[in-house]
């Protein structure tokens, strides 16, 4: 039968255990460490290919390592501490790969792989870390199986090696399942000494909007928010409001910020949860926020005009109750009629030309005029003078902020209260996770117009800029769903979620009732099969026990108590030996011997007598406790 060397397998798995996290962190590690790693690996492959590989001695390893240690200290800065240390570890791992392959060295390689994983945990927070983590666990656990086998025996039959491989896989599965359990229930403190880095980028959306400034947001696919829909009707074309801009000074819109009390409005409403992936000061709300609960992170409060703001930017989780009908007036609408004096004179002739029979018609004519006569462009160029005037009368090109500002000022000139709103339009609906995915490129600016007895109604003056709900390929939805779950259950898991989980579990256990246990058809069949198998196994065991002659039961009973019958002993010799050890039971043992002889050599059926004897013996054994 072919044989394998378990230490060689363990070494190969340890190599994988180092290579995997090194590749994952490749773009973050210092160049010198990567060059050394690639060079060392190439040298190893070359030498192994030729068959003349000689392991590097420990002294040589230390000599090579010394300058890299100096380099690590020389280039040390607090910002690059983790990648620098990981770079040094990579050099160390390369030297270990080029060195001896004794069990101790292989164990050190596994340890280095584990340290890489720890370093990556500090440096990277994405879902790929999760995949690397699972693979690393599989490689390490299976590798440790072979390492231990290599310590015990130099070679293994191939079949045993495959068995070890399978056992390694089984152990990996067990480790991963238990990891989930420990991770969820390891105690989490409410406060920590050093908070880990948030690691998120800042959103380009802010309390200020300057139409004249060129924004690159529209091309950025970074995920900004995930808005999980908990209950209530879901809008088909959602506009997620973040800021309502009220003041316009020198080409810049400014949103006001103050706290407002919770309000109650009759009409359709929904509950949703907001999970940011970027640093933001305002949360996206697809309507008018009525209530907000801070589940985790900086405190959120109800801000002007149905928006929600944060006390400070940071990671967290907030639950918001949103009114989905026309937005109620909060500030007197007359405050949204202001137009800069210099601009008003220029706009008046155009506005008069666009005025309709009623407010609805006027709004429609203004929006139609802008959509038909102006071109949407992300790079309209730098404005000369007042940005809105430049857009309307010179460039005729602009992005959503130009369109929204122009529409608002035209409507205000005609006496209709209007305002610019900033947030996210559309996004992607993920059916797996039941949430909207808002990317930076979904950031948008639109307008809201006030109609008496109706409230504020949103309009989008930008051509082709309406909120369209995008559909993704299933695998992209799945990947994003996994990322969401990773972020929700791993990266942002904390004491609050832990308490909610424990409370939820205890509530479920309390409310569990067997009468409510409605089993589905297939589950019933499977449970039935398992029950039949268990009962069958029990019955078979009982049948075997009943069928077994009492003298065999006696032999097993005595063997369990440290008095086995050796294979070279006759039954008589064995009984004599027992009689010497337990003289008080001599007569009992001799009785069994006689019954056994009568059956074995006399052809007599003594099974009934043996059963009686067995009962007698059990009573005796209980009494004497042997």
């Amino acid at each position: 039968m072919p044989e394998v060397r378990p230490l060689s397998w363990a070494w190969a798995l340890a190599l994988g255990g180092v290579l995997l996290p090194a590749l994952y962190l490749f773009k973050d590690l210092p160049l010198w460490s990567e060059v050394f790693f690639v060079g060392g690996l190439s040298y190893l492959l070359l030498k192994e290919g030729r068959g003349d590989f000689k392991p590097l001695a420990l002294k040589a390893q230390l000599l090579i390592l010394a300058p890299f240690l100096g380099l690590t200290f020389y280039t040390f800065t607090p910002e690059t501490l983790v990648p620098d240390l990981l770079g040094f570890l990579l050099v160390l791992a390369t030297l270990k790969l080029l060195g001896e392959r004794a069990p101790r060295d292989i164990l050190q390689l596994f340890l280095l792989g584990g340290l890489f994983l720890v370093g990556a945990a500090v440096w990277r927070l994405d879902l790929v870390y999760g995949l690397v983590f699972v693979l690393e666990v599989a490689l390490t656990v299976t590798g440790l199986f072979f390492l231990y086998a290599g310590k015990e025996v130099p070679v293994l039959p191939q079949r045993t090696a495959f068995l070890l491989l399978a056992l390694g896989g089984l152990a990996t599965l067990g480790v991963l399942l238990l990891t989930v359990f420990y991770f969820l229930f390891l105690p989490r403190p409410q406060y920590t000494f050093w908070a880990s880095s948030w690691g998120a980028s800042r959103t380009g959306l802010s309390e200020k909007v300057a139409p004249g400034e060129v924004s690159a947001l529209k091309e950025d696919p970074t995920v900004a928010f995930r808005v999980r829909w908990i209950s209530g009707p879901r809008p088909k074309k959602p506009y997620f409001r973040v800021f309502v801009y009220q003041d316009y000074r020198r080409g810049v819109w400014q949103a006001r910020s103050y706290k407002r009390p919770p309000s109650h409005t009759k009409g359709p409403w929904a509950w949703l949860e907001v999970l940011p992936q970027i640093e933001a000061v305002g949360l996206p709300v697809p309507g008018y926020a009525l209530k907000v609960k801070t589940l985790k992170g900086p405190r959120a409060f109800l801000a002007p005009e149905g928006t929600v703001r944060l006390s400070s930017p940071g990671p967290g989780l907030w639950r918001i109750k949103v009114f989905l009908g026309p937005l109620p007036p909060e500030t007197p609408p007359s405050q949204f009629l202001e137009v800069p004096v210099t601009l008003k004179e220029d706009l008046l002739p155009l506005a008069k030309r666009l005025e309709g029979g009623g407010p609805w018609e006027t709004v429609a004519r203004v929006l139609a005029y802008l959509r038909e006569n102006y071109t949407y462009s992300l790079k309209p160029g730098a404005p000369r003078g007042e940005p809105v005037r430049w857009f309307l009368f010179e460039s005729h090109r602009g992005h959503c902020e130009y369109f929204a500002s122009a529409a608002v000022f035209l409507l205000r000139t005609l006496g209709l209260p209007a305002r610019v709103v900033g947030g996210y339009a559309g996004g992607e609906w993920n059916p797996l996770g039941g949430y909207y995915l808002l990317r930076e490129k979904d950031a948008h600016t639109w307008i809201e117009v006030f109609f008496p007895f109706q409230g504020w109604v949103p309009f989008d003056p930008t051509p082709l800029g309406g909120a369209t709900l995008k559909r993704s390929a299933w695998w992209r939805s799945l990947w994003d769903y996994l990322q969401f779950k990773w972020s929700y259950w791993v990266i942002t898991y904390d004491l609050g979620k832990q308490l909610r989980l424990v409370r939820g579990l205890s509530q479920k256990m309390r409310s569990f009732s067997y009468s409510k246990l409605a089993l589905k058809g297939s589950l019933r069949i499977w449970l039935g099969l398992v029950l039949v198998l268990v009962l069958g196994a029990g019955a078979w065991r009982a049948w075997r026990w009943r069928k077994e002659p009492p003298w065999e039961k006696f032999l097993r009973y005595m063997a369990r108590r440290g008095h086995p019958k050796s294979s070279s002993q006759t039954f008589k010799e064995y009984v004599e030996e027992l009689a010497c050890s337990f003289p008080e039971a001599r007569s009992l043992f001799e009785e069994l011997l006689s019954l056994y002889y009568r059956e074995a050599y006399g052809g007599e059926d003594t099974r009934k007598d043996q059963k009686k004897w067995w009962s007698k013996f059990k009573a005796f054994a209980r009494q004497r406790k042997f």
């Binding site: 238990l178 990891t179 904390d494």
Partner: protein, 284 residues
């Protein structure tokens, strides 16, 4: 039957425990959930290792059968019958205070030998047998103690040396010796292998057939009597010399008698007489 387990941490295990504690400390102080994840994995690794090692030792049954003769300071093979559970058991070690044996793979049944060396003559009681393994990861070494009330009598270690003896040569013996001179010895049977026995006496056919080393014994017709007087002897060394002399004399076909301080064994020969003599020496 009481089952007792013991777990010992190896050097690598101490390293794992220290690393887990350091990571847990870092995770608690930074609130970094990925550090919690790695800590949880190390804890899971310890748990799974414990479960695997427990299952590895759990269902193993051991039967130990001593050889017919055990001499002090001489490695002696004990027959070990192992019965495993449904699943295979890996890298087991069977250990007693007098020796151990390794068993890399056990599935259902296996018979092996456990070589034990008892330091001196006398009665020994093997109260338990230690079945241990560092499987699966080598971080911890779990041992299971199997109660084993086995009493063995260890004969003195046979050593060549001077001993006080009284040889009685009979007429019959002289005649027989004359008749036998130059003739080969008669085949008498097999006896258990003893460490140090000449290879020429090893029963190769039996070894090939049964896989168990045994020694060929030859018996010459009795042609004399030998009396050993050990009444004044006390040192272990002299008892060892006597043992060797008895074995040689019986081998040569002599009848051997023994005088001990409280016992006198009349001259005799044959396996049962050999057993009586050796037992008397072991207990002297």
């Amino acid at each position: 039957m009481k089952r007792r387990y013991r777990v010992r941490i190896t050097l690598a295990g101490y390293l794992l425990v220290a690393l887990t504690l350091a990571l847990a400390l870092a995770a608690v102080n930074t609130g970094n959930n990925l550090l919690y994840l790695v800590t949880a994995t190390f804890l899971a690794l310890m748990t799974v290792s414990g479960l695997f090692s427990w299952f590895n030792l759990r269902g193993v049954r051991v039967q130990l059968e001593p050889p017919k003769e055990i001499f002090a300071a001489t490695p002696t093979p004990f027959r070990v019958d192992l019965k495993g559970p449904l699943w295979p058991c890996l890298f087991l070690t069977l250990k007693t205070p007098y020796g151990k044996t390794a068993l890399p793979f056990l599935k259902r049944r296996k018979t092996t030998e456990l070589w034990l060396t008892f330091p001196s003559r006398g009665s020994y009681r093997l109260e338990s047998l230690e079945l241990s393994s560092g499987y699966p990861l080598g971080f911890f070494r779990r041992a299971r103690f199997i109660p084993f009330n086995l009493e063995v009598l260890v004969y003195p270690c046979p050593l060549s040396g001077p001993i006080k003896e009284e040889g009685v040569e009979t007429e019959e013996g002289r005649a027989r010796e004359a008749f036998r001179r130059g003739e080969p010895e008669d085949w008498a049977g097999l006896e258990p292998y003893r460490e140090g026995a000449p290879l020429s006496r090893l029963a190769w056919k039996s070894l090939a057939r049964w896989g168990k080393p045994q020694l060929k014994t030859f018996e010459a017709p009795s042609y004399g009597e030998l009396w050993l007087d050990l009444r004044g002897l006390r040192s272990e060394r002299e008892i060892s010399f006597a043992t060797q002399r008895i074995l040689e004399a019986l081998q040569a076909g002599q009848k051997v008698g023994l005088r001990l301080p409280k016992k006198t064994i009349p001259p005799g020969s044959g396996p049962s007489h050999r057993k009586i003599l050796l037992e008397a020496l072991a207990r002297a």
